[in-house]
């Protein structure tokens, strides 16, 4: 009878729930690790920046291939969440796509790669170079037409990143701006949203991660990367350390890492993963 079936199902669902609660593995940072000899086992949880997440997922997979009893779980949520979860113990390792701030010095940073930020415009836009002052003027609204900077007549559509993002903070820091000064026409969240916005609008200008932009431009997406301070934008310039707008991609832990976490961080910083890093369009750290 569906009525009894209903009641039974409710009871069953509640029972399952209770059983589940009773035998949950506990908070996600359980490290039931066992390092007898070189045989590693256990589970690591990483949370933080969505920029680094795909890279760490790949590195995690490679690590799991070498140590079949290990599980590396990568979650997203933003750099600040990485810091918060690391401090509260919800995550074993945090992923932060910038250098640590002054009030974050209680954490230990371990850079695994480098990235840069570049200005992008649409491919059809004849403008191919902008001085720092022009960029500031465009972003604060004093220049609002492309013909004032050597392009064709047309309103400039300024694309800015949402508050709190590491990319935004780096951009503002380099150009000595406050977010309140910026007069944006479109505000975006993730890098690809920025690229798609600029690629769909010949009058747009924006800034995104260099690796992402370079990769997409190579795939034929109609964007062009502008040089900053005369230095052409590209992962090559970032690798050589010449590019002014660069940032480290960090793994952070609360204390000095031991056991599984230490082994994993060491793996992530070794040359074994350099090709993985390059595939995600970031720049490996020169050892």
């Amino acid at each position: 009878m569906p009525v009894i079936w209903n009641g039974l199902s409710v009871a069953f669902a509640v029972l399952v729930l209770c059983c589940g609660i009773a035998c949950t593995p506990g908070a996600s940072s359980s490290q039931a690790e066992n390092t007898n000899g070189s045989h590693l086992s256990g589970r690591l949880t990483l949370t933080g920046s969505s920029t680094i997440a795909p890279l760490m997922a790949e590195i995690g997979r490679a690590f799991e291939a070498q140590h079949p009893d290990v599980r590396i779980d990568v979650q997203t949520g933003g750099s600040s969440r990485g810091v918060a979860d690391c401090r509260s113990g919800l995550a074993d390792i945090g992923m932060v796509s910038r250098a640590l701030k002054e009030d974050e010095q209680d954490l230990q940073p371990f850079p695994v790669a480098k990235d840069g930020i570049c200005i992008i415009v649409h491919q059809d836009n004849p403008v191919r170079e902008l001085t720092d002052e022009q960029i500031v003027a465009i972003y604060t609204g004093s220049i609002d037409n492309w013909k004032d900077v050597g392009g064709s007549d047309g309103e400039i559509t300024v694309v800015n990143k949402a508050q709190g993002r590491s990319t935004l903070e780096l951009f503002l820091h380099y150009f000595h701006l406050n977010n309140t000064d910026v007069a944006a026409d479109v505000v975006i969240g993730d890098n690809e949203q920025g690229i798609k916005t600029v690629a769909g609008n010949p009058q747009a200008i924006g800034y995104v991660s260099i690796g992402t932009a370079e990769f997409d431009a190579g795939q034929g997406v109609p964007i062009a990367l502008l040089p900053i301070g005369g230095i052409p934008a590209g992962t090559a310039a970032v690798a050589e350390g010449r590019f002014p707008l660069s940032r480290p991609l960090n793994l952070v832990t609360r204390e000095e890492p031991t056991g599984l976490a230490a082994t994993f961080i060491e793996f992530a910083r070794s040359s074994d993963v350099h090709d993985l890093i390059r595939k995600q369009s970031f720049v490996p750290l020169a050892e």
Binding site: N6, V10, S79, A162, G189, Q193, T197, N201
Partner: protein
């Protein structure tokens, strides 16, 4: 026995909301204390900071953004959805009606990410060709109405389909035209179902996050025209929650509470409206 079991179910369902509201209230308390109600509408702009004294917390432009996008979407999708349901029930030949309904069911399940993505790469450039920046209130309204259309169409379809045969026969006996039957008999009889459809759709539109995030432009301002970018409360939470700390985070929960308040208001208004209208079935 049966009633007791059913009450257990209903009680559990009702409790979920209480837990969520309790959670929201708890998380938003710091903001109520340090920022205060007045500042949420009188501050100069929305540039929040983890410390209430350093930032500005004006929610008004985003409230307006939410209301405008939702209202526009419902005004656009409501008539279209009902027309679609009428088409499916009364105009479409049998071979067409079933695939059409399947198509609408499919539209209902397409993720908001896909709608947002399509909006970003197809719709926004088209609008940008008319007026910059392209990502605008109009784009948000169009995408939202596309998203809620299937909800309205499907629920309206079920409602219209349950109008009793006798009513239609009576209308035919009276010599009413097709439109006369639909306007005078079918739609009023299905009124409660149609209202449900519109309410469900409005609530979906209010709570939509991903799609509006991608196409609305996300600039915190009162829109001067249909082509101006706006930011909705939901998009704001999605954009900033991951990076918000302290009072900023609490302020975002305040906007979450505000959204729920808006929904509650809507529902109350709908209930009052449905209670005062005379019923079709009169003794």
């Amino acid at each position: 026995m049966l009633v007791r079991l059913l009450r257990l179910c209903a009680g559990l369902s009702a409790m979920i909301v209480l837990v969520i509201v309790a959670f929201l209230v708890r998380e938003s308390l710091p903001a109520w204390r340090s920022v205060g109600l007045a500042r949420f509408v009188t501050d100069a702009s929305w540039h929040p900071a983890p410390d209430a004294s350093e930032g500005t917390f004006n929610l008004l432009p985003m409230i307006v953004g939410t209301l405008l996008t939702t209202a526009g979407a419902v005004l656009l999708a409501g008539p279209l959805g009902i027309a679609s349901a009428l088409f499916c029930r009364y105009y479409a030949p049998p071979m067409l009606a079933r695939p059409y309904r399947m198509m609408i069911e499919l539209l209902a399940g397409i993720p908001s990410v896909v709608y947002g993505f399509w909006g970003l790469v197809v719709l926004v450039p088209i609008i940008a060709g008319i007026a910059q920046p392209g990502a605008s209130l109009l784009a948000g309204i169009l995408i939202l109405s596309l998203m809620i259309l299937p909800t309205i169409a499907l629920v309206a379809d079920a409602a219209i389909g349950s109008v009793p045969q006798e009513s239609l026969q009576a209308a035919a006996a009276l010599g009413l035209s097709r439109w006369g039957t639909m306007a005078g008999v079918v739609l009023p009889a299905a009124r409660s179902g149609l209202l449900t459809a519109v309410i469900l759709a409005t609530m979906r539109a209010l709570g939509e996050t991903m799609a509006v995030l991608m196409v609305c432009g996300n600039v915190v301002q009162l829109p001067g025209s249909l082509f101006a970018p706006v930011r909705t409360l939901t998009a704001n939470i999605a954009l900033e929650m991951a990076y918000a700390m302290g009072d900023h985070r609490s302020a975002l929960f305040v906007s979450g509470l505000l959204l729920m308040g808006l929904v509650a208001l809507l529902v109350a208004a709908a209930e009052i409206a449905s209670r005062t209208r005379p019923s079709l079935r009169q003794a």
